[in-house]
Amino acid sequence: MHSAIDVRPTGGRIWTELSILFRIQFAIVRDQWIIVLLMATIFPLSTLLSMKFMFGATTHQIMVNLIVGNIVFAVIMMGFNALGQEISWQKHQGYFTYYASLPIRKVNFVLTQMLRGLMTTMPSVIIMAAAGEYLFDVHLHYEWGLIPVFILAVLSMVGIGAGIGFWSPNHQTTSNLVQGLMMFIGFLSPVMMERDQLPLVLQWIGYVFPTTYAASALREMLTAGWTNEVSVNVLIMLLFVLASYWFIFKMIRWRASE
């Protein structure tokens, strides 16, 4: 006899959704693991080497800013570039028809997309930090608090990435949009440099991007540890996470598209 199965959002049910959706996402990269690792390694290594050639002898603070800036840049790449492009690609390939016809929450779908991105970004971040220390003789500060700050930094960008991915009319638009946004945020907002190095108007624009607070918190954590400034940035990132969750929950439709 056919009967409906109980899929109410209990803890066990949410865990099942997350773990299964993550396994589906993981399957996308498992066959190309070597290429993914290679690509994740080439980007930070070539960035660091070119920085060494260009700035051979420069101040300690500039090197820290550049290394941390590149780490945050890698997180941004994953946070909304890769996430936005991946969601958009899946949407335009018709994958949503499968996912949306199942009793699963879209926020879990987005989270597992993000987890996959995190998995492919981590090698890049670790190499950037380790090779940066070795090549530039910079000492970075590591502590357990770095883990929640890093996760918050990624989560705070999910709303932008998911929004772009779900709403874009076609994949080409998504690609242009995220690349333009990435360049603006990477080079014209306080990611690679301190806030006061930018013109006033760009400083103000920088306040609306979560990347500003992520870069600031990570820079502070990697140079001085958990300070009051980190706490303030963590609180602001938490607000961005809550806003992202609300945005995905209330504003993004995937079952009944217009």
Binding site: M1, H2, S3, A4, I5, D6, V7, R13, T16, E17, I20, L21, R23, I24, A27, I28, R30, D31, Q90, Q93, G94, Y95, T97, Y98, Y99, A100, S101, L102, P103, I104, R253, R255, A256, S257, E258
Partner: protein
């Protein structure tokens, strides 16, 4: 009891020149197999996506057990299992993973999901392909896995969009058998297809759709009564003589050109005897072959579509 009510549903895409569907109303009863039939581009897939809550109507609403599907999407997606032709999203998984994961996401306990996965693959004669990635399978095998992802979990309502496309005759038969079996076990089934001949054998009721409109909905028996007084003749003309054959057949009934040398003639039963007698005895008729058939559901569809088109033209 009506399980699903489609109430004056229309869909107009922002960039579309004409509506994808217009003012469609009908009901789906619990426990029946209903076929949504029509040619390619008729608006069937749009309608079915509106029914399962994947596409919002521009006006009107679809109710599942009395409540708008868009207001209970979680319930709808757990109780209505939708087959969307190919499991594109699962191409990177193995056949076993695709079915198992879908079963788990549908809420089955792991043990039950494993059992159903094995049973379905064995039923599809694909038990030895359990560890093969779907992307390395043939088109037909991929579609069978898509069918499996719809069947796993024993949802009370199953919606199939062109379930037999690209399948070989054995798998087509298997799919129809599975659909009938699930219906006997209590599932309500909606089929979307342009394969009228195959659907005819399993459906209880048929809804004909074309140009985004519902042309007719009724039981197969009632629909066939509409054309009960007609017979269908398929004629193959002698080489290069099809135009002359059409000319000779004018006045006997409705004529359709069905190929370079072929025509189809719908003729009233009471005139059919005289027509056949004339065809057999008049050696000047340029006919190579002919065959006579009783009316099928496909003929009903052609008849209704022509009448609607004629009415619109008038």
């Amino acid at each position: 009891m009506n399980l699903l009510e489609i109430d004056r549903v229309s869909k107009v895409y922002k960039r579309g020149k004409s509506p994808a569907n217009m003012d469609i109303s009908f009901s789906i009863r619990e426990g029946e197999i209903i076929g949504l039939l029509g040619p390619n581009g008729a608006g069937k897939s749009t309608l079915v996506k509106q029914i399962v809550g994947l596409l919002a109507p521009s006006s009107g609403e679809v109710r599942y057990r009395g409540v708008n599907v868009l207001k209970q999407q979680r319930r709808v997606s757990s109780e209505i299992s939708y087959y969307a032709q190919e499991p594109h999203a699962l191409g990177v998984l193995t056949a076993g993973e695709a079915l198992l994961y879908t079963g788990l996401l549908r809420g089955l306990p792991r043990r039950e999901a494993e059992i159903q996965t094995r049973e379905l693959l064995e039923r599809f004669d694909m038990g030895d392909l359990i560890n093969r990635p779907i992307k390395r399978m043939s088109g037909g095998q991929r579609r069978m896995i898509g069918m499996g992802t719809t069947l796993i979990g024993d949802a009370p309502v199953l919606v199939f969009d062109e379930p037999t496309n690209e399948l070989d005759p054995l798998n087509r038969k298997l799919v129809w058998d599975l659909i009938v079996e699930r219906n006997r076990r209590g599932a309500t089934i909606m089929l979307v297809t342009h394969n009228v001949l195959e659907a005819e054998r399993v459906v209880d009721r048929v809804a004909f759709v074309n140009h985004g409109q519902l042309l007719e909905i009724d039981s197969v028996a009632h629909l066939k009564q509409r054309v009960d007084g007609r017979l269908k003749l398929d004629l193959t003309a002698a080489y290069g003589e099809v135009e002359r054959l059409i000319g000779r057949m004018e006045g006997w009934g409705d004529i359709q050109r069905t190929g370079e040398h072929r025509i189809r003639l719908y003729v009233n039963k009471e005139r059919a005897g005289r027509l056949l007698d004339w065809m057999i005895h008049d050696n000047s008729l340029p006919i190579d072959e002919y065959a006579v058939y009783p009316p099928s559901l496909e003929d009903v569809y052609v008849y209704i579509d022509e009448r609607k088109a004629g009415a619109a033209h008038a």
